[in-house]
Symmetry: C2
Subunit: 697 residues, 2 copies
């Protein structure tokens, strides 16, 4: 190495030292402990890959790049293992793993990553890298992995104009104006990140869909994206606008039973496959929030979905039909809408259709009971729709680790086929032997350097992928992996950050939606508190529709008097949540209108408990800050300051939520803030004025 | 250096090698030629800076960082120069440069950068670095520089919700949700980049302004930004909504003559100064495109501006009032509106007011005649408003270097006080001895890694700043600087790229708006061609309003019959443009309705000339691609591919413009595409269908 080159390196390294987060959990920084690096030496003498397949080439290159980073040495790639001590990537038809599953084991002194498919080998490669990133020993490594869910998918709510609906990390990562001729290198990083956690599908546009994505002009662009993602095992889906036969085809109707409409979709589907032969399929939001759909023509969701399924019949793709539907009825209960519209259709859907259901019956609230559709559809594969982007969960300024929330839903027992009929078993298809299975997450990716805005938001993308692969993983383990791969390998720091992450969701719920309250956020932008919101374009877009505060008490009675929503669940679930004296406090106000003075299991009245939780949430954010401060020496300085600044904002806004809610509800309870808590330093009107700012154009 | 550290460096360098463009023209890569580096050795032995001022510290750190990059060695910073061969940064009250001017000269064997102010020294520091970045010798260096314009400003059209009006590089760079507690490191890079080209002011929000920027909540955020920018010599301005006294103050009126309204603005202005003591001032878009203004109360622009000026009287700040106003009148001529509304007010404005005028009378068209207000306002300082963001100039997909367009306007003679009364002399205040002067550019910055989307869009930010400092610089010189600082120091490549840049604007005009046509772009998004647009919310938002194509000919007659707009100019200018036989072809259809068959100075009929120019524009884009291809070895691979891809899109879209326009105008001219040109391969309806795609939601 010449001195000149060395100086050059020194300079470049000084520029590159601050971690901008762009490499996500694949940053592959050098393992500091020489001993640990040396421990990997005997297993990393070469990489052997016999086939010329594109995906295997990607796997071997990823391994080479990862090892160069982690161990600081360049490992040679060879065609055949002629010695021991290397890593062998091998596609072998073997009956004991699924198509995408893989095994990692030791044979003849080599570590073998084996799968039926190249994609499985790629997944195993990332697993091996993860083992080293998290300090695992490779001696006698023996891993067998099969994904529990078949379609592990991101849903992008990205618009054609470059904005992202509910996106908090810059603009869309898809540069439609540049495609198909310019391929942003970020598409490759995106593919690597997804493959590393087993995500194998992506819908690239908003479910509030523009027809333009079905034009030849745009199919050419989508093809260019699909070509980048394909070797990483990722299939592309398109969200479609149900009115497209009219908008694009010039037809007079989009009635799914109209022969011309059916022909239009058949032709369009064939056309798409000329661009993307392995097209994943359609994702459809129909007759929901103003979107067109089959009901516009007196047809059912099944009529609509089956028409698209018919168009897809010659191909491998499928149709994902969303169950997020609700009509504006001031006397109804939005909680019941999806169930009511879809339950009669169980059994009516084409086998190519999966119905995609949000985790809860309302809309991604920080804590919702599981959607009553789960368990209630023995003849229809139901897919899970989680929201990774934090529309109601702090957007890009609050640290909220979502794995515990995802797990809480997945692990809940529906009792649909007796005890143990968890939501997870509905989703992975095992409860009703479904032919297909799906877990989708609404993506939190954007054009920001670090992809997700808040550095910790990356962990929710990571956790979603890991849980879609294996919903039995624990939240702690997933957090531990992500921290070590992304932030620090210092054990004490890792434990502190793990603790921050595990506490973060309960804390967020505490200062925003304690005791089972819901939907009290700022109108339209969904930022900050607005529990007093009483007028909107629809009654079920207000806050008062949900919290039902009055002089008597707080909460939505869903036990039969006002709404019988609880009856949609199994008797066992009804029993668990139906009695206000026994209902877990976290779910209490979802199902019961509880008097302000009623004594809860904590020994406090509802009002006092509400105040205590709001106040404690704020205090806990202070504690998160202190814990974060104690990790300083173990964290990249830029990321440390970034998170520190955001935690300070979180504290300010937690106080904002607390004051807004206790002052507002206090007008109904007529009770004082319980001692020793100090009443807010501002009036309700002052808080309302603050909230108004965010409605000014 | 330990081996371990060396390995680490190697890895980091491999990651950092691809240039993501984030460092703009301050990338300071090592000078490859050892001889050149050695040539700088005798002048770079130390950096001496005696004062502790924050700006001087920034200057010395920038110099140290720059030299480390360029020369690959760390230069020590000392307090006093005790030897020769170093660089001395020195604040000295000296009469022969202006407050922000500087001198660089050799004294006692040292290079001295001297100014009356720390900011001047910082500017000189960047000049010295630029000298090295562009390969100049430092022996006997002797430079004296004074800015020609006092306020050199960026106008951000950034909205509070994170979008950017007419932004094509991601979302807003201002992270309002993170401020004031998180300071994005990009704010510092932004400050450095601006200081390096002498920009000393920035308005941080859209002129279609939200009142929220005047709330205490937001002033705290803006203060945090101002605190970052201040040591770089940059003052912060706020765009204000004229209705704020009503919206925020709860008053019943915003009438500028109402005492309560005046008091509200006085108080608000005082409040702002508590956050930002050196607040730059207000930027106002009033009674324009639906924005509120003094005319809502029967008052004049001067009434409105003077009210704000009064509020600003105790402070150093000013009021910038935009002249971009026009009423919807199907029988009028938008060309005359700004002049008509403002001319009677010349002399009526408070000395603290500058009227900011767009370069042309319509709206940032690719080529416009200079605005007739320039030269016509002896008693009012007029500021220039250029648009750096390429709303009508290819957005982020066409390579269009704007310095020649800026210069074309600045260098045009208004003849207001006889020959030599150029627009530039109006702007720099010299023509009428104005007390203040302003050049503003609507920013093209966004959250994208490389700030501006298209890598070459950076050059327009750079060129704007350089011309605001010194409008006598040539476009070629500015391009040469930018290329060497940003892309390559290879002389042959620099010359080729300079050629690409210098040809780019004429080529863009050729395939979009040849011969003085204007305003024929896609409705609202302003992307692609839509010359057939005949209906809109306002007549002056259509295309037909501007091109006036009919069976006789093409162009807007502004010589007196239909509109007398030409009479707003000096007699000499009228003479130059008033005769269709002598009017330069580039401006012809701005002023004349020319018969399709009329023979032009080129020897061709109008129709043939129009076709030839459209066709030639497309051919020339092909030539740009070939030239770019020949620079491959001298360019960072990622940037090379990026530009290559975009040029391919540009060619496709140039063809789109060409076909749209010749097919559409052909319906009026009834003439064939002249030989040897080949008629378009598609029909007008096909092109219209293509354009419709961009109107689909």
């Amino acid at each position: 190495m010449t001195k000149q080159f060395l100086l050059f390196l020194l300079f470049i390294s000084s520029l590159a030292f601050a971690d901008d987060g762009s490499r996500l959990w694949l940053n592959y920084v050098l393992i500091k402990e020489a001993k640990q690096r040396e421990g990997y030496g005997p297993f990393t003498k070469f990489i052997a890959v016999s086939s010329e397949g594109q995906t295997l080439k990607i796997a071997s290159n990823e391994l080479q790049m990862g090892l160069q980073g982690l161990l600081g040495k360049k490992i040679t790639i060879v065609k055949t293992a002629t010695a021991s001590g290397g890593i062998v990537l091998s596609v072998n038809k073997s009956a004991d793993v699924s198509e995408e599953g893989y095994k990692i084991y030791t044979e003849k002194g080599n570590i073998v990553i084996s799968s039926n498919t190249e994609t499985g080998v790629l997944y195993g490669t990332f697993e091996l890298l993860r083992a080293m990133q998290t300090g695992k020993s490779l001696a006698n490594i023996s891993i067998t992995e099969n994904p529990k869910v078949k379609i592990r998918m991101l849903n992008h709510w990205d618009n054609a104009n470059g904005t992202v609906e509910r996106g908090y990390a810059g603009s869309s990562m898809w540069k439609w104006n540049e495609l198909p001729y310019r391929i942003d290198p970020r598409y490759v990083m995106y593919a690597r990140a997804n493959a590393s956690i087993g995500i194998n599908a992506t819908s690239i546009n908003n479910v509030n869909a523009s027809s333009r994505f079905l034009t030849a002009e745009y199919l050419e662009k989508i093809k260019a994206v699909a070509d980048v993602l394909r070797p990483y095992g990722i299939k592309v889906f398109i969200s479609v606008n149900f009115r497209s036969p009219r908008t694009l085809g010039g037809l007079k109707t989009s009635d799914p039973l109209d022969p011309e409409v059916r022909k239009w979709w058949n032709d369009k589907t064939k056309e798409i496959h000329q661009y993307i032969p392995d097209f994943g399929g359609y994702l459809v939001k129909a007759n929901s929030e103003g979107e067109p759909g089959p009901q516009d023509y007196g047809r059912t969701h099944a009529d609509g979905a089956n028409m698209l399924a018919e168009a897809m019949r010659p191909f491998s793709g499928i149709v994902i039909w969303r169950a997020f539907v609700y009509n504006a009825d001031p006397n109804g209960d939005r909680f019941k809408e999806g169930y009511a519209q879809f339950k009669p259709l169980d059994g009516a859907f084409d086998p190519k259709v999966i119905v995609q259901v949000k985790n809860g019956p309302i809309d991604f609230m920080p804590r919702e009971p599981f959607h009553p559709m789960f368990g209630a559809f023995p003849k229809t594969p139901l897919g899970m729709e989680f929201q990774i982007t934090q529309e109601y969960l702090g957007q890009s300024t609050h640290l909220t680790y979502l794995a515990p929330m995802f797990k809480e839903c997945l692990d809940t027992d529906t009792y649909a086929k007796g005890q143990g009929s968890t939501v997870a078993k509905v989703i992975d298809g095992s409860l009703y032997n479904a032919s297909n299975s799906l877990m989708a997450g609404v993506a939190n990716t954007g054009s920001d350097d670090n992809w997700c805005g808040h550095p910790f938001n990356q962990s929710n993308w990571y956790a979603f992928g890991r849980l879609a692969w294996d919903h039995t993983l624990s939240s702690e383990q997933i957090a531990s992996e992500w921290i070590q791969m992304t932030l620090t390998r210092s054990k004490p720091a890792e434990q502190k950050i793990n603790d921050i992450m595990m506490r973060s969701h309960p804390i967020y719920v505490s200062y925003t939606y304690p005791l089972g309250t819901a939907h009290m956020m700022g109108e339209s932008h969904h930022y900050g508190p607005e529990p007093w919101l009483a007028k909107s374009a629809r009654p079920d877009w207000t806050s008062v529709y949900y919290h039902r505060a009055d002089s008597v008490g707080l909460g939505f009675d869903r036990t039969g008097k006002l709404s019988n929503a609880l009856q949609l669940y199994s008797p066992e679930v009804q029993k668990k949540w139906g009695n206000p004296d026994q209902c877990p406090l976290d779910y209490l106000l979802w199902f019961h209108h509880v008097p302000w003075g009623k004594k809860l299991s904590t020994g406090r009245s509802l009002w006092d408990e509400l105040c205590v939780r709001y106040y404690d949430g704020v205090v806990q954010v202070g504690n998160l800050q202190k814990t974060w401060e104690s990790t300083k020496t173990a964290i990249d300085p830029e990321i440390f300051e970034n998170v520190k600044g955001r935690l300070k904002i979180q504290e300010k806004e937690a106080l904002w939520w607390r004051d807004a809610c206790v002052l507002y509800f206090g007008e109904y309870s007529k009770m004082p803030i319980p001692k020793p808590l100090t009443p807010p330093q501002r009036t309700l009107n002052e808080v309302k004025k603050l909230v108004e700012i965010y409605h000014l154009r």
